[in-house]
């Protein structure tokens, strides 16, 4: 099936495939965990049942999504060794500890409190349960901190030296962790996760409002989600712009590929809106350009010079067409989100937030927009790092395991089949859960079912000597 591809290409395809399937779940669960913590806090503070109903409604969805994120994440943690063993040997002393800290400070925290969060509402007090929810939410953010530190170090390596065995070793841990692109990437990704979740919550709320605009739970979740879109979308565009400027400073070739600048522009570079980048010819075919706008955006001056890929050795070029397009998809999604946020604010001011079918249809259609933007953004930054694994220092071709192509091809095929089965089922269940409107007296995933069951049939409870509580 994969004849004609080398082991390195297949290993890259496998990483891209398994990572793409994985990333959407953390992106969703980072935002959803925080949303659940907010809902539970609002319930404890206000005592309004609608918040508890929404908490339980989204908790069921969280349970399914989190499980899928965990299993696809275990795959990632072993893939560094299976397909990228040379990379693992060389970067292990630097990247390894960051990932070990992620496991110790984040994964255990999430996993340790997840059971109580999912099934323990009736077993521990409300406050202790809220603490569990909060720990899970904090865990997801700590996890983002470490994994983005590791990822950013690969993009903008700092604080290291190379030892006699060719391994990267650390000279300064602060330098490694707080490498130049880390703060920007962390902010951009966490905001992306919050937006992604807000769009999903908003779409579910909107879809139920289209059927019944008086549904209390749908109204509350839709309003909360639209506030997030209104406030966070502009912040995200600002954060993205800052991240872009940081990339221009540290990884100029990536920005050249994003912009489609094959040639240098000494007197102001145009913004290429669309076109077909031609890597072989080193130009953008059928380009539609706005003169000098790129210089204005990147250098804040209409006639600032901008270097092009002609200043970079050809064997250090990243694959331009992929980056050019994925970047445009991400930016396009960002502006659509901004549009949704502004439209909802307008409707809110006119008092038609819960009535406007136009807004509800738009919000429903935007449900997957966050995932699309996250994937497109990751493609932009990761493909933009090529042809290196550690930018400018370690080439992708020199990072792979000494494996024959058939071995890597077979495992790739296995993952493709397994993921399609598992993800098709998972998405079906998620859609099924979301298709139900949130009910008054919503059931959780279930500890409450357990205690309710025990409550309904006290005889069973009495008979259960030694049973929990």
């Amino acid at each position: 099936m994969f004849d004609g591809f080398g082991a390195v290409e297949l290993a890259r395809a496998q990483f891209a495939f398994t990572m793409s399937f994985h990333i959407v779940f953390p992106a969703f669960s980072i935002g959803l965990a925080s949303y659940l913590a907010v809902l539970e806090a609002l319930w404890l503070w206000s005592g309004r049942d609608v918040f508890l109903d929404l908490f339980k409604y989204w908790l069921k969805i969280f349970a399914v999504a989190f499980g899928m994120g965990v299993v696809s994440g275990i795959v990632m943690s072993y893939q560094f060794g299976t397909n990228w063993s040379t990379y693992a040997d060389k970067t292990g002393p630097v990247i390894g500890p960051l990932m070990a800290y992620e496991v110790l400070t984040a994964f255990f925290l999430e996993a340790g409190f997840l059971g109580v969060m999912l099934f323990g509402l009736e077993r521990v007090g409300h406050r202790l349960h809220f603490l569990a929810t909060l720990m899970v939410a904090i865990g997801t953010l700590i996890s983002a901190f470490w994994i983005l530190a590791a990822n950013s170090w690969m993009q903008t390596p700092a604080g290291y030296a190379v030892n006699a065995d060719g391994q990267f070793v650390t000279e300064s841990w602060l330098g490694v962790i707080f490498n130049p692109s880390f703060p920007y990437r962390l902010v951009h990704m966490v905001l992306a996760a919050y937006l992604t979740t807000a769009l999903v919550v908003g779409a579910v709320g909107a879809a139920h409002l289209l059927r019944n605009r008086n549904l209390a739970g749908a109204r509350v979740m839709f309003s909360m989600a639209m506030w997030m879109a209104t406030l966070v979308a502009p912040l995200q565009i600002l954060a993205g712009d800052q991240h872009g400027l940081n990339t221009l400073e540290h990884q100029p070739a990536k920005v050249m590929a994003m912009e489609g600048h094959f040639t240098s522009h000494p007197n102001g570079a145009p913004l290429v809106l669309f076109g077909l980048p031609n890597q072989a010819a080193g130009k953008v075919d059928y380009a539609i350009e706005v003169p000098r706008l790129s210089s204005l955006i990147l250098k804040h001056s209409l006639d600032a010079p901008l270097a092009g890929l002609d200043t970079v050795a050809r064997d250090n070029w990243p694959p331009v067409p992929i980056i050019f397009w994925s970047f445009r998809i991400m930016v396009g999604m960002g502006f659509l989100m901004l549009g949704l946020g502004l439209l909802s604010l307008w409707m809110r001011c006119w008092g038609t937030l819960y009535e406007s079918r136009l807004l509800h249809i738009f919000a429903t259609a935007m449900g997957p927009a966050g995932f699309v933007a996250v994937l497109a953004g990751w493609f932009t930054t990761e493909v933009g790092r090529q042809p290196f694994t550690v930018y400018g220092v370690l080439r992708t071709a020199d990072s792979a395991s000494p494996l024959a192509a058939p071995a890597v091809g077979s495992s790739l095929l296995a993952f493709v089949i397994v993921y399609f089965i598992v993800y098709a089922a998972g998405l079906t269940y998620l859609f099924r859960l979301m298709a139900q409107p949130p009910q008054h007296g919503e059931q959780g995933p279930s500890g409450d079912m357990a205690s309710h069951a025990a409550g309904i049939t006290p005889a069973a409870g009495v008979a259960a000597e030694g049973a929990v509580r």
Binding site: T86, G92, V103, A425, Y429, A450, A453
Partner: protein
């Protein structure tokens, strides 16, 4: 590895500890999957799933720590072993994917489909257990290393010995699963689990004996380690302790002391594990790479040691709390799901 000698040993113990905690925590959890086909009734299966649903995720996190920790503390060993164990590792991951999602998926489907996720849970658990055992056997028999790379083929791991260790681990996990059911369930389900314990215990003792007899034949060094004077003074107590624990285990099964068999089985695992340590030390990739050769620079290991010494006790603390919250017997109709 200047100045890294002592800390490398500490890290070898930390990794070994993480892997052992993984075996302790996820072993019974995989074992339940292996035993699933023997409990066809839906109500029994619901109870079995509920007995572990709140904690399985934490259990598997130890595997991530084992893998991630190995890459961080002994990157060379990680880089050599993962390609050497390529197929078993991929098979294990796929098994874990299927069984992991089954925990939630089986509650989200219609009756007929639920059965399908029960098959995924059982099949995935068995596959993961066999793959872990095979990987263990493949490590013990040694891998072909040249320079800093694995230099063997992608089927080198497959030998009669690795198949034996694969079966041994699957049987051992099944016994852990059965003793867990004795601990956590009641009525007919518990009685059936007791019944299974007998068969599984004898199978596990047979497996321990077979692996113990086969191991010294793999390498001269293993033989010397176990039987040469004066080592034998230190190694002889291991099989004696196995015999003593076995007697206690048989008595607790006969007397139906629900809370004991699980912990005694864990003791059997601990002894077998200690035996493995005796065989392997000081190698991390047997006969090729020692723990000092594979160690990360001291500053990487020290940086992590800070975290580990504070966080591991904390993790063990809140994990114990989670088990405490869901303590006691689980019954049909009063599960967490």
């Amino acid at each position: 590895m200047t100045g890294g000698i002592d800390i490398a040993i500490i890290w070898a113990f930390i990794i070994a500890f993480a892997v052992f905690v993984y075996v302790v925590m996820d072993g019974f959890d995989l074992g339940l999957g292996i035993l699933f086909p023997l409990f066809p009734a839906k109500s029994d299966r619901d109870v079995i799933m509920n007995s572990v649903a709140p904690v399985w995720d934490g259990n598997e996190t130890w595997l991530v720590l084992g893998g991630g920790g190995l890459m961080a503390a002994f990157p060379l060993a990680y880089a050599v072993l993962m390609p050497a164990l390529y197929t078993p590792i991929i098979a294990m991951l796929i098994g874990l994917v299927f069984r992991g999602v089954a925990f939630e998926f089986r509650w989200r489907t219609t009756q007929q489909q639920q059965n399908r996720w029960d098959i995924a849970f059982a099949g995935g658990s068995l596959l993961a257990a066999l793959a872990q055992g095979i990987a263990l056997g493949a490590i013990l028999q040694g891998v072909h290393v040249e320079g800093r790379h694995y230099a063997g083929g992608w089927w080198d791991w497959l030998t009669p010995f690795s198949i034996l260790t694969g079966l041994a681990i699957a049987v051992g996990y099944a016994l852990l699963g059965a003793t867990w059911l004795v601990l956590k369930t009641a009525g007919d389900l518990r009685d059936k689990a007791y019944h299974l314990c007998w068969y599984l215990l004898f199978a596990m003792l047979g497996a321990i004996a077979a692996v113990s007899i086969a191991t010294p034949f793999l390498h001269k060094q293993y033989e010397a380690r176990w039987f040469a004077w004066p080592n034998i003074l230190l190694t002889a107590p291991v099989p004696l302790a196995v015999a003593a624990v076995t007697v206690l285990l048989l008595r607790s099964l006969a007397a139906k002391q629900d809370s004991r068999p699980f912990f005694l089985t864990l003791a059997l695992f601990a002894l077998s594990y200690a035996g493995l340590g005796v065989s392997m030390y000081p190698y991390i990739v047997p006969q090729s790479i020692t723990i000092w050769q594979a160690a990360s620079p001291a500053n990487s290991q020290i940086f992590m040691l800070f975290g580990v010494s504070i966080l591991i006790p904390l993790i063990l603390g809140y994990t114990a709390w989670a088990y405490w919250v869901f303590r006691g017997k689980v019954r049909a109709g009063s599960g967490y799901h």
